[in-house]
Amino acid sequence: MSAATSPYLERSPEWKLPYRGTVGMACLIIAESAIFTIFVVAYLFYLGKSITGPTPREVLETPIFFTVCLLSSSLTIHLAGKELENGHRRTFMILWSLTIALGALFLFGTALEWRRLIFERGLTISTNLFGTTYYSLVGLHAAHVTVGLVMFGIVLLFGLADRVGIEQSARIGTLSMYWHFVDAVWVVVFTVVYLVGR
């Protein structure tokens, strides 16, 4: 049979399916949510079950400034994506760098907090159940922030080499989805660790 006479009976005129990057990232987010759920459950389950101190109430301080940094980076990355879609590459690069700076600032905040907890309060991952669950939950989140920043850094390098344009905006969109997820997880972690957990 020649290719001209299609063996199949009907060809639908419009056939549009979702972008694979969006679906793939949505799946990854579902999978990651399950991982975080287990860590959050462990944190809540072990609340107040530590045999020795220090307790969360004694040592934790609410990191409001750094939380604001992280959450506002969600806004900047969203705006960056919009700018790229409209072809404004310069504004995109500025907003993109701002996102990286805000994310890095958040990580710096976590580092400061851990430094204080370890050296001033003597709380390590092996001190008690609070230390175990706190460092793993917050650390798992921080690891995700780090991965995000590495990927953003790669985009930044490509951008500096003038290789990021409108064609890449769908891919930037998937990265943006990841970052929104990381921020949403922080809202949960923040609520559990700093509000409920104290």
């Binding site: 679906v23 799946c27 999978a31 287990i38 159940l129």
Partner: protein, 557 residues
Amino acid sequence: MSSDAMAIPSARTEVRPWVEVAHEWVTTVDHKRLGILYIVYALFFLVVGGIEATIIRIQLIRPNNDFVSPQVFNRMFTMHGTTMIFFVAMPILFGFANYLVPLMIGARDMAFPRLNAFSFWLTALGGLLLYFSFVGGNGLYGAGNAPDVGWWAYAPLAAKAFSPGPSSDYWTIGLLVSGFGSIGTAINIVATILCLRCPGMTLNRMPLLAWLNLVMSGMVLITITPLSAAQIMLLIDRYLGAHFFDTQAGGSATIWMHFFWIFGHPEVYVLIIPCFAFMSEIIPVFSRKPIFGYPVMVGATVCIAFVSLSVWAHHMFTIGMNSYANSFFVITTMAVGVPTGIKIFNWLGTMWGGSVQFKTPMLFAIGFLFQFLIAGLTGIMLSSAPFDWQLSLSYFVVAHFHYVIVGGILFALFAAFYYWYPKMTGRMLSERLGKLHFWLFLLGFHATFDVMHFAGILGMPRRIYTYEPRPGWETLNFIVTIGAFIQVIAILVFVINLVFSYFKGPRAGNDPWDAWTLEWSVSSPPPDYNFASIPSVASRRPLWDLKHPEDPDSRYE
């Protein structure tokens, strides 16, 4: 019209140096080659896991036997369980999904070909790490090599204090790594099915195999990940001195059980749903009828997926939960039997009134139906908490889940091998050897696993190293071991069939079974690009429409 009209001659005919061929296989991102890599890898581990099972059975053939030491025995059942679940069942099902899903939905490859290759090599590395423990597990500790903590690795047995040396770490890291591979493949399958269907293939026209693999992959995303999380916690405990599962510091051993079984039970459905998918493709073709109750099949599958997420603690009735938890898990466990029953009726409804052809794939499919039904019934028995208190951790449970995994999953896999081997290699498997394989395996299977039920009811505990001669046990265990040997012979026949038919089997042609899904429209084996022009479909059985233009399915949609 003959379907040969669409044949595309294979271009790979010249002989090339083996290094080049090997290089091609190692660096491939083609979904068909990766599918075959998954399957070959899993078959290798099937043999390894089978050898371990045989060692277990030889040890138990008579009372007070000392064929292996107790330490080796512990390693054997740990490695047998871990291998069969994570490095046989999972990869082989992913292999079939990889191979078949793009062909069935009219796509040229998976959505993320490189992720696909990455996932396979992660899984391969996981298996390698697990088995490297036999060599590297000893370390400086002299504490035994391979993992011996059981495939659940319950706390505190898996804690550093009770499992010194790195053997448990090989188990943990091996499973963690292969788990990431599974997540990658699941993402890939979902994205492929949602984003790469050919024109006209709405979700409602998709082959059931694609539908069921979509559900399975969705389940993998939320069931493998709790295990990964728990493995990370175990690693933190063992390496950084944390206390997640350390009862000395207020930690809980029970929470490991919960985390493990939140993964462990849905995992059974992750494994069985692709087998349902094989059944839903094979039974209609050999009954010469379209599947009965397509929408109900999809609905029942989704229903199983949801309900199976809330049944995990039926593995934990004996640890002493409160009566509310017990009642909840009894009810949900019984409820999951309902959609499963619907499926069995649908397959029977498909066969009813059809002109059933008893080819080897169909024989295995019918074996599956009977055995999976019995496995489900003993499952309903065990779902009742008081009954479970009597028989939990006995050979009755071992018999039950081997009925699911061997009687159900493995039979379905054999059916799939006989059905799709012609597509993958271009050669038919021998029907004579196939029938011999079927009857031998059926005999061995029932001798082994039917009899295990009785040993369990008589009180034989699982994972027991040896036993005193006592009424009933010796004869039963002897029969069980003989059955295992018969299964080994059947597997040998299967392997001989695979190898022999690859070189000498009759040519298959495009469509040896006169089937209706898109993979049979291309040559066997399919060309690298699958479809010369992307097909466009108008019904659930595109090849039926093609072969019967006077009475296409699309007329009735």
